[in-house]
Assembly symmetry: C5
Homo-oligomer: 385 residues x 5
């Protein structure tokens, strides 16, 4: 039931490790995963070639021919293919297990002759679902494994094809950096969208809060949390690449990695900021709920307390005491000005009540006026600090 539930909502991807008790290092493949599509780039400062590969045997030839070989695998549905690539590039079994177990935290692991990087990449056109991108950085090659086709790396492919920037001139470490940088930079647009939605929600909650606002703040917070879980360990991973002495990453590339690290820190900054503002909005919503209740109750109380005594008085003069038995029995009913006096008396009571409520500040306050922008006060102050 839960499975179908989640499917038609499409809210959360299954992220947990599937079966406890599987042999460590075994490559287990999700039977629903897509068949792998393998695209290889080979390039050097002056030339490049690009090829869709079906026979894995040609990969070794790429490795010999080109200064840098980039093998990109889209779809993890064939354990055999992944196993053979692992053999060709001499990858560790545990790393290969993590490639197909698409539930990893971002991390960097140093093996003898390569660095294994796990990152989580936002799917294009999606604001918070991530797919796992596994990167192997070796001496003359970069391998990338994705769960599904479609990614944010087309900029890099274009730059390789057109020879833009430094990517063709530098080694495999610069390519790995460029991929990581593209992954990190792809988090900025949804963050910007979150920030804008937060501003809209802020306006809404300060001026005209509705029940929907709270739920939207909650969804925003949860999505922020999801991005945070993807980017926080990535920051640690990039930092690890910066700090650890490995011959696979040149000093030149380290300068660029520092830039990439700065971007992750910036994203975390924004996330924390969003979270604090969202928490504050929740408090304001709660206070506004209380305010609205106060105003509803004021309306009820004013109307009730004005009319209840009047109704009582009208009730009194509806009583059937026999006026003819004694002069003490409801003589008002027989007065000449009795009825006008009744109205005079009632009007006086109502006026006294209204005056009392007005002095308490309950009348002529905010619920009759259109809501005012509460930030105006602050903005005025801003002009003459």
């Amino acid at each position: 039931m839960h499975g179908s539930h989640r499917r038609h909502r499409g809210r959360t991807k299954r992220e947990y490790r599937a079966k406890p008790g599987t042999v460590p290092g075994a490559i287990t493949v999700d039977p629903n995963a897509a068949r792998p599509l393998i695209r290889v780039f080979g390039f050097g400062p002056t030339a490049y070639t690009e090829q869709e590969v079906t026979d894995l045997g040609c990969l070794e030839q790429f490795l010999e021919t080109w200064p840098v070989t980039w093998v990109n695998v889209d779809g993890l549905g064939d354990a055999e293919v992944i196993h053979r690539i692992g053999a060709i590039f001499d990858l560790h079994g545990l790393a290969l297990e993590d490639v197909t177990g698409v539930h990893q935290r971002p991390k960097v692991e140093h093996y003898d002759n390569n660095i294994f990087i796990v990152a989580r990449m936002l799917q294009p056109g999606n604001r918070f679902d991530t797919e796992q991108l596994s990167i192997f950085l070796g001496h003359r090659f970069v391998l990338t494994f994705q769960e599904t086709p479609g990614d944010c790396l087309d900029f890099i492919r274009d730059r390789i094809r057109k020879g833009l920037g430094r990517v063709r001139a530098c080694g495999s470490d610069y390519l790995a950096y460029a991929i990581l940088d593209a992954v990190v930079d792809a988090y900025f647009p949804p963050l910007e969208a979150f920030g804008e939605e937060l501003e809209v929600l802020e306006d809404e909650i300060l001026l005209k809060p509705t029940k929907q606002s709270v739920a939207r703040v909650h969804v925003l917070k949860r999505n922020t949390l999801a991005i945070r879980r993807a980017i926080w360990p990535l920051r640690e991973a990039v930092n690890g690449m910066l700090r650890d002495a490995t011959p696979l990453i040149s000093d030149d590339t380290r300068v660029y990695l520092r830039d990439c690290y700065d971007h992750t820190v910036q994203i975390i900054d924004f996330l924390e900021n969003h979270r604090e503002i969202a928490s504050g909005l929740m408090d304001i919503y709660l206070s506004s709920t209380g305010n609205r209740l106060n105003e509803i109750m004021k309306v009820l109380t004013i109307i009730s307390t004005i009319f209840i005594p009047l109704t009582f008085i009208a009730g009194v003069y509806g009583m059937n005491f026999h006026t003819d038995i004694s002069p003490w029995n409801m003589p008002e009913l027989t007065w000449y000005w009795g009825y006008p006096f009744f109205w005079l008396f009632n009007t006086a009571i109502a006026a006294a009540m209204l005056y009392y409520f007005w002095r308490l500040g309950w009348i002529l306050t905010s619920w009759t006026r259109p809501p005012e922008d509460p930030r105006r006060h602050s903005n005025e102050n801003k002009d003459n600090p």
Copy 2:
């Protein structure tokens, strides 16, 4: 009273250290604990034997014969047996005390010739009660002590029997890793169940909150806390095994331990995530309580404020002022169109009130419509970021 209370609820296991003042290093046995059941595996790359042991003397023979001996003790009810095993494998008194004092935090302690690991293992089919698993890792042996029969290690026994994976080929350190890994992996299914329950609760609280929801969130948070107390120190313990230089753990196995460490970090990640979402749900529930109160009060206020003035007017014309005494006494009662005019007047008042409430936005708002899914707005945005 508390004891029986707890027993029929079955909620919390007694976890505290029993009697202050017992001699340090003394093995104290819970008189209700099960009698020990001892099962020994001896194996090497090519062969294995498996035996239920009653005479402890044969353990030494195992140690001599097999490259790796795994002694598993189910049930801690016999101090003599534990004492004798301690003597055979040369274990420290304090460690043996911790084996029977089944209330330990997960930890790793390095003794001269063995490593003592305490972990907390989820009982199969149970989502948050843990039992203590004590592991001794020596040069050619692994000892495990459990409180009750039934564990999550059958995968490993099968792999030993069938020679699957690397467990037969590697030493005792790999076996200890495999056991730890199985313990850690057993936390994923209940975590997944928690996550699913959290999603159900999220739907429930956003769309149709009830009093039960809060209690269920609380229970979920408490269970999350219980798992956190088991897994957080385990992370530290595994990290300690990774960092400390000990000849008992080979570099090959360290690579696997790093994988196990990653899993503990992942579990903590999920737990923190669950906790934040659960806290947010609590806030939303509180706000929804306020919203429902507002809507109840709106109903009351609208009905009351419409009818209270009308009732007053009806009361006025029920008064018994003598219309024959003066022309000022309730002349309306004697008008030809008096009664129709009364209804006209009342209808006008009611209409004015309704218009006023409609302008305030109190009418035709959410309480008459079915509740709407508040996430729709966000999902729409998602499509065109």
Copy 3:
């Protein structure tokens, strides 16, 4: 006024340092403190003696005769006695000042020839008031100073007398460890009591919250805080003894101290756990307050909105419009079936209202049923995960 207030409540002990400006290192004695009672143990592996001392001169003889001398001082009311003991055992003035200034945080200070340990000991039969226990650990002696007679060290005295455990065979460092361990272990029973009270409160707040529950949660949190202030720095202190290289503590004893350190960590674990659960209970209580208000208001609103229109209609037909003046003036009053029709009409209105409230879910909901155990849902899930 405040003083007497506190005295008849007996809630908080005065803990602050008394007079700013006293000379550092001066021994200032609380005039109300008890007179010291000095009891000395001298023991070695094979023999022991025990004596209540009035003449301090004999202490030096103990030091010479016995491998380990344990001087316990109950009551800090005589500066002269403390001064002389300080002279005999060569103690630093600042340490002696701390002995009588019974307001210290737990700490460990290393002096040239002894280690000064301050711990806070729970008074037996008391769940959160602590007294200061000052311990000096020297080469062949241990000194302990307590504020009042009665402590949790009788176990150790018995072990010395009966030669149980290792205490007679080991040196003064093991005795100091045993004392610290007894102090730490004495925190477990009140913690267990807290945990049980928390479970009772949890039941109470989830099922039938009262105003008293909140206050009891608050008192529990405050007491937890008090224990935390005693045990948190003690953990640091024990850790300091573990880490610092001092010849006064042997490596054998360090292993035991590590065990003691584990216990302090375990206590802090429980405290944090208690605190989180208590905070959660507070939230649930707040939400239950809102729920009860909602239910009260539902009752009021249903009764009011049903009867207010009916009362209005009854009022209408109580009006005295003259039915004889025109056929338009309240003709209903003269109908043959007028009164039955009135009841029919009213019943229809009431039924419509009830139907409306039933559709809103306000009727036949929880306030008529006995409250249900909200944890049942979770427990059911537990059986088939």
Copy 4:
């Protein structure tokens, strides 16, 4: 829509990195940015010159002539200019990219022959919007890049012109310090204004809370957050300059940088303080909302419960039971003193009700008295501690 929204509000500047996928190290210029205005200072202990530069070629001459050259660029709208300055002073491409990508976190980066500092500078007359100030500190030069004309550095220009202070006598490192110090000190006046607004808000919320107060507290918290995001990493950056051994900063200047570091710590102190007080105010506002509701409900309850029974009694005597049929049918209506007795009875009921409410403490409490200053109690205590 969002863009225009933000523009007419003028609330938030766009801060996010613009286009993912741009080549790293490429200088991308905001097409709306102002054209650069370049002003150069050259000075030594005894002389100075100041010049607005259009031909960048003269900068090299400045470098040769003067001990210190300060190039200030206002406006980042011309990539060519920035590129050429980068070539003249030998700046790294990534640093130049950060200069025009005006969305950086404050940071310090050490390049081979210069230090690159990013700070965020408050625009004069603005309390929380910051612009990016990029500073390059080289051996004999300081470069500063700002987004818009107008800054808080005129004090320094004056001191150079008039030879005040040490700025002329010291090297480029002191100038860079002076600029940083001016940027940091410019945060104090708005912080002071925040503190004063917080005091006003505190008075308001404690004595006479309105809906506006909450929104103003929220705006203040958000602005505090904005400043915190600018100043927190700046503290780290200044600390980095203090700690890192670089020949570009002399020990003398380090002493001054320590002072600047102290100022950033002080600002963070104030910010944290503001934040805690603001959070506390939010809690008080929530509690005051509840209090006001209580008082509104008290008014309603008192009036209702007094008049509802009275109205019932008046209704009773308005019934038309035929008094002539039986002596049991409403004999009160025919009593001689019936009507006066009715009033007596009603007055007694009302008095009993009022007495009951008075004993509950609902009458003659705070809502009839002007609100009292709650701090008076504390201030009185202050005089006799």
Copy 5:
């Protein structure tokens, strides 16, 4: 306006740095500051002299004559005096700037030949306003600068005069320690007063919460915050003095400084404790607001729901249906026992209602009984743990 506001409230001292852009190292004097009063102590183990100084020239003579010279400056209104003292004792310009800029965070700075300590001293008889105390510790001298006369150092002066304690026998470092210790110890009495006020507030909020309680908790929290801002960096500063190797502080004095450090830690402990309890009280107050609202609404609901049906029935029998037209028109009015039956019926309805409310637990609950002490339950438990 704000200035006058603050002045007549006397709540907050202006603490911010005055003018951004002043030359670093320049001594700027508050024109309203008091004129300096300089008092010099010269002392050695056997003798001392004390003198009020107007001619600064004699200070050098003091330095030559006495082992320790203590110059205390009360009032910072004369830049010239401070400048000359700086010249005599060879003080750094930045340190002198901090002396007059009386807004510093507590800190310790090591200069070549002296240590500059900034502390914040509680003004005697004031619970939370602090003044800046600047201390220079040199080889044979201690300088102290205060904002206003009156301090907590008279104990030290007395000890110097009477030769009490170690102050005369030790060097300038012990004097500096004694001053710091006096400053720290002066925080204990107001903390004790806070703790007592917190207990009073706790009683008040648990038993009889008023609106004033919240404000007083808030003021207490703010004052706690103020002390925390003074003492937290002081702890760091004292710790710095302990750790840094400087020949100006002897090892003997370091032992005493450790004691002073312990006191700062103890103060922070109390502050954190106060803060947690105060936060808890706020929660309880909020819950009590909800409880009171519930009880108010119960009163209203009970009275309303009992009388509303009764009033309706009375209204029915007040209707004027013509009983003579048909036997179906209100025959009850003509029954012999009609009126008594009406009362019987009404009493039955009211009784049923009351029984219903009693079963809901709304009647005979807490609002009629005096509030009970909620801590009684806990205290009872205490006796039999």
